[in-house]
């Protein structure tokens, strides 16, 4: 049996243009009312000596009802021969715009009512504009209360002309206009004798012509990561394919980390095993190479990645009680990404009902409640996004003020720089570096607390490679990291030191002190020194123990034979030839850590996997720290 198809519609229009009456009539004409409901309401009206109103019927069903009416059922859906329709959200009076926007954002089609008598009103225009902004493309305009205009074709055509002209200025083309009189059922389910000049369709026929939204299968792949699951020994990336399709063997580029890996499996539960998934499917993905990926990353094919920037142009509507103000920080949510944002500039504030630019006396630096604006937003971290006109679901966002979603918008078209292979070009876009803050504020702001990642191990074990890769990975995640480089330290800070055991010890102590300062400044300080003596490393651990920041000892462990074989700088050869004295592992001891926080067997795992292990450790630590703050 084919499941019942449903189309979600929203009904909008100016207050008193007949939304409730229309819905009541629609339910009646589609036979969707519970048995006896109409008769019951008619009787109540009669008993009270008031005319029966179709709007009451809707109110009764919606429980915004008169006191004597009993509710015994709820049908907010109705049925035609073709399918079932759901009317999203009830017309309510308070907070109508918020409800209308919520309804429209979830709807696939809209009916917009205009009173033939009153003509186009403020909300007729505002709703038309917002439907467009919300991405509703299937719109039918119902010119209602035609009975009050003696079913005049001229009046109908005049309204159609005027409203089409308005919609055209915002690039909307409604499917059609239909003359109706909801009260009498004209042209709702059947063509009306009162409008012989109207050959159709009826409202129901027009509804049945609308299409159920199809997922955008044929666009570039966008797979935003919702979560990473580790229910067993596998790491499963959970998410919904928002655009395009994904299959086993696809090479994925993750933004904003710029990491690449290949799809190993597509995971589903109690479903046929299919090695691909298309737009709209909520799936899991495992990768062939373990890289560090977390919620917010967007996977795409390397050939067609999203933009990745920390500023973009947007069109936004504001619903918040407090205005959207320049100079204040808000939270931006786009797909599964979240970060602080602020207004970089306001290009234009628009009155959605007239489309005229709002000119205010004095302070121009805010967007008020129920206003629409064209502006540029700046985010704390680079965001992966698309223009709304290209890919819808990664081209729209909401703004959270405090605990509330207070605004929404779409990414406007602009000339955004395309990605380059060198992720470091982003450095020009990194911002936010102001001053006086407490360590807690710093941690909250940075999204991580400061710490020292101390890599220790034999020469050639991979410390420097891992350190620099880790630094770049952290940097790409918008985190603040810095590698303390051995040579730099020797040139400056330790220029008075030699290589005697005392001097080596002093060198490590100084590095430890400097690392501590970096950590206190909120940074993730990475060091890569052989640091062969346990006592020296423990000294650094002690230096940090008094403060708020953690010392993370990472034992980069590769067997001597492997290191010697690698010998990237030819040092082992020199040591064997006795050209270097006291070379660790050959002619000087290496004291392996007893209980390192992390141990990396670099003869068995790749650099990327090593980095992923450290990232994971830091990530888990931070979740704990930030929550406790």
């Amino acid at each position: 049996m084919t499941p019942t198809e449903q189309l979600k519609i929203v009904i909008v229009g100016h207050v008193d243009h007949g939304k409730s009456t229309f819905v009541g009539r629609l339910f009646h004409d589609t036979g969707s009312l519970p048995e006896g409901k109409l008769e019951q309401l008619q009787k109540i009206a009669e008993r009270r000596g008031v005319p029966f109103e179709w709007a009451n019927l809707m109110d009764a069903l919606q429980s915004e009802r008169d006191q004597n009416i009993t509710i015994d059922t709820a049908q907010i859906w109705f049925q035609t021969k073709k399918r079932q329709y759901v009317i999203i959200d009830a017309p309510g009076h308070k907070e109508f715009l918020k409800n209308m926007i919520t309804g429209a954002a979830n709807a696939e089609a809209a009916l917009l009512l205009i009173d033939a008598n009153e003509g186009i009103q403020e909300q007729s225009r505002r709703h038309g504009y917002l439907l467009n902004l919300l991405g509703i493309r299937q719109i039918a305009v119902l010119v209602n209360k035609m009975d009050l205009q003696e079913y005049s074709q001229d009046r109908f055509e005049q309204i159609e002309r005027d409203y089409r002209a308005f919609l055209k200025t915002i690039g909307v083309e409604p499917k059609l206009f239909i003359p109706i009189a909801a009260k009498h059922g004209d042209n709702i389910a059947t063509l009306s004798k009162n409008t012989p000049w109207w050959t159709g369709p009826t409202v129901l026929a027009a509804l049945d012509e609308f299409k159920v939204a199809e997922a955008p299968d044929n666009q570039p792949l966008r797979f935003p990561i919702q979560d990473v699951y580790r229910f067993d020994d596998r790491r499963i990336l959970a998410g919904r394919v928002e655009a395009g399709s994904i299959k086993v063997g696809d090479k994925l580029l993750f933004s904003p980390s710029n990491k690449v890996s290949t799809v190993k499996t597509i995971e589903r539960w109690n479903a046929p095993e299919i090695s691909s998934a298309s737009a709209g499917e909520s799936i899991g993905v495992t990768l062939t190479e373990q890289i560090f990926v977390e919620r917010g990353a967007v996977a795409a094919l390397e050939t067609d990645p999203p933009y990745e920037l920390n500023r973009f142009k947007a069109r936004l509507f504001w619903l918040g009680r407090a205005p959207f103000k320049m100079g204040r920080l808000y939270k931006l949510k786009l797909a599964t990404q979240e970060a602080e944002c602020e207004i970089a500039s306001i290009e234009k504030i628009i009155d959605a009902s007239t489309l005229e630019t709002v000119v205010r006396d004095g302070d121009q630096n805010y967007v008020g409640r129920h206003e629409v604006a064209e502006l540029t937003l700046r985010t704390k971290r680079p965001f992966a996004f698309d223009a709304h006109s290209e890919i819808v679901s990664t081209g729209r966002f909401v703004v959270v003020d405090g605990f509330e979603v207070a605004g929404g918008g779409i990414v406007a078209d602009d000339i955004y720089p395309k990605r380059t292979a060198d992720s470091l070009h982003k450095s020009g876009n990194i911002y936010w570096s102001h001053g006086k803050v407490t360590p807690q504020q710093r941690a909250l702001r940075n999204g991580h607390s400061g710490c020292v990642v101390w890599l220790t191990g034999l020469s050639g074990s991979g410390k420097s490679t891992i350190a620099t890769e880790l630094e770049r990975e952290l940097f790409n995640h918008g985190q603040h990291a810095y590698v303390l480089d051995g040579d730099n330290v020797r040139h400056g800070l330790g220029s008075d030191l030699g290589f005697s055991p005392e001097d080596r010890k002093e060198n490590i102590r100084r590095i430890g002190e400097v690392a501590k300062l970096f950590a206190n400044a909120g940074m993730i300080c990475i060091t890569a020194f052989i640091s062969p003596y346990r006592a020296d490393r423990d000294l650094v651990r002690k230096i940090l123990a008094g403060g708020p920041n953690q010392f993370i000892e990472v034992f980069v462990n590769a067997p001597l034979a492997v290191c010697e074989q690698r010998d990237p700088k030819g040092l082992y050869a020199k040591a064997r030839a006795n050209e270097i004295k006291e070379f660790t592992g050959i002619s000087a001891p290496y004291e392996a850590p007893d209980q390192p926080e992390i141990e990396l067997n670099t003869d068995q795992i790749t650099v990327a996997e090593s980095v992923a292990r450290i990232m994971e450790y830091l990530h888990v630590q931070d979740e704990g720290t930030l929550i406790s703050i």
Partner: protein
């Protein structure tokens, strides 16, 4: 993608959002068809796992076979179950079956207060509930992520906007969020999905020798079967395609006063 698959994928998305955003998350399980479908969807979302506890508010007046069925699934599906009871009221005996409370008062203490107590005890800040908007008019106004204040109250007039699957996941301390992954499913969709996935449902839903079946399950004293000849899931689907009576018509507490259910819900009922 067909319509049921769309509903399924959307529900999985919502469940995953909830799991990501709430530290202390639980799912209400009434043992009925809806919350059992919800449980099934959780296993879909988390690839066979249910990574949060299920809360069953036990009034002790449930139909006996519901408890047997519950305990069997807990065993078979390896579930964490938390049972909440309003011991105080049960001890005092002020309940409808004892003739000492109205139906609505009884729901208020045994179910609503029972739920409140169990949420508080375990500090749950996110509660997944299987309500659907086609069930009942006040449920039609719900959001996917719906805040409840410190007293569990629901402010119907001023609900958060819900755009493009960006849900309300930021909330004040002491409040909690109800999450409704089945909001857009209808009773018919539930049965279509049960048929498609072959989900084991409690046999009370199927017509017995007397030609009666339960359409909605609750406490024995306040839940009545309907006349029906539907003996299989398929029969139920056929029956629902042609019915005009409401799903909760066999639930007596809704009828005590015209707005009984709305009041219960505003106060924090499921």
């Amino acid at each position: 993608m067909d319509y049921l698959a769309k509903l399924e994928n959307q529900s999985i998305y919502i469940l995953r959002e909830a799991f990501n955003k709430f530290e202390n998350l639980a799912m209400l399980w009434s043992i009925g068809k809806d919350s059992t479908v919800l449980l099934w969807l959780a296993r879909k979302a988390f690839l066979g796992h249910v990574p949060f506890p299920l809360v069953h508010v036990d009034t002790t007046y449930k139909i006996a076979s519901m408890i047997e069925y519950r305990d069997r699934l807990v065993r078979d599906w390896n579930l964490q179950l938390v049972v909440g009871k309003n011991e105080e009221v049960l001890k005092s005996g002020v309940t409808y079956p004892n003739g000492k409370a109205t139906r609505v008062e009884c729901c208020g203490t045994l179910k609503k207060d029972g739920l409140k107590a169990v949420l508080e005890k375990h500090h749950f800040t996110g509660v997944i509930v299987g309500v659907r908007r086609d069930e009942e008019p006040t449920r039609a106004k719900e959001r996917y992520f719906s805040p409840r204040d410190k007293n569990m109250e629901w402010n119907v007039e001023d609900q958060p906007p819900e755009l493009w699957d960006q849900f309300k996941t930021d909330f004040e301390k002491g409040t909690h969020i109800r999450i409704h992954p089945l909001l857009h499913w209808t009773e018919l969709n539930i049965w279509e999905y049960i048929e498609r996935e072959k989900i084991p449902v409690i046999p009370l839903y199927f017509a017995n020798e007397k030609g009666e079946r339960y359409r909605s399950l609750g406490c024995a004293p306040c839940t009545f079967p309907i006349k029906s000849s539907a003996k299989t899931v398929h029969d139920i689907i056929e029956e629902l395609r042609h019915t005009k009576t409401s799903e909760r018509s066999g639930r007596a507490q809704d009828k005590e006063s015209e707005d009984a259910f709305e009041k219960l819900r505003r106060d924090g009922y499921m």
